[in-house]
Subunit: 178 residues, 2 copies
């Protein structure tokens, strides 16, 4: 039932504690980046995050964004993803103490990401069945495939290809041969 405000508060607290524990400083830049990352649950690239902060009137350097994101990841407040391999890293907030696992549907055609929360795929369940020789911290699940949008498009294109290659096989209509 946590509201976004609750989540942000919890995150700020966790960051403050982490920084203190590590003897690091609680700078306004770090707070601002945390706030912006937690303002939504989208995946953000470093430069997107910077652009957002910029349009908020908050100007900071890319290196600061990168270093802070690294801090957030170490503090367990953010997670880094490399979805395609070609595309740049994307960062995602981690809601403190949230028990549910969630995984990512990655469309290999358009790169769009959707998220699925699935309690049956919780960290606990996945990590439980491990050997004692590995101490799991968290897990990530990626399902690669085709999103419905691309499926539709691909079907449309296929149809058109058949229409034009089949010549007059089906005297239907070339419809829009554009």
């Amino acid at each position: 039932m946590a509201t976004d405000a609750d989540i942000l508060t919890a995150a700020r607290t966790q960051l403050t504690q982490y920084l203190r524990r590590k003897g690091m400083r609680r700078t306004p830049e770090r707070i601002a980046i945390l706030d912006r990352l937690f303002a939504g649950d989208r995946h953000l690239q470093a430069d997107e995050l910077r652009a957002l902060l910029d349009s908020d009137g908050y100007h900071l350097s890319l290196s600061t964004v990168y270093s802070t994101l690294k801090v957030l990841v170490e503090a367990g407040l953010a997670r880094m993803h490399r979805f395609g391999g070609e595309q740049p890293a994307q960062y995602e907030r981690v809601v403190p103490d949230s028990p549910a696992g969630h995984y990512h549907l990655v469309c290999t055609a358009c790169g769009r990401i959707s998220e699925v929360t699935d309690s049956s795929l919780s960290l606990r369940q996945i990590t439980r069945r491990h050997y004692s020789s590995f101490e799991p911290a968290y897990c990530m699940v990626y399902v690669y495939g085709t999103c419905y949008r691309c499926l539709k498009r691909m079907r449309r294109e296929q149809r058109r290809r058949l229409d034009s290659s089949g010549k007059t096989r089906t005297p239907h209509s070339p419809s829009k041969p554009k």
Copy 2:
């Protein structure tokens, strides 16, 4: 029960078919790269793969390695991983028609990867519970944590730190201060 030889044969066949279907050429470089990738089930980086081929007396350019790996991924014969985010991409063979899912244990301390085959985490089981709006192709599971080797090391370091900071608090033994 497939032997490595069987697997390689199947992979070669699948590649040949894929290339024919796409109107692409069956060059010796592509075969060599496929063979080398399937010679073991390790994760390989592009330049490692090239080095291996090099030591086999097979010299080819890095760009060829990259472009061929891309082809193999598209043909469903290889998979690309970006484990840490910082480290370069690693490639892994995909055994044709192998039903079992396997996931990766990634040590966040040393970067070492181990693989776990787990039939209860098969693609089928994971993808079954999706909406109809996404057509899954394959999935990847990463469990991040600490491997036993690093756990041991970290415990050792922690102990040493306590020993030296705690002064003579517990007059036990520094045991092996090595």
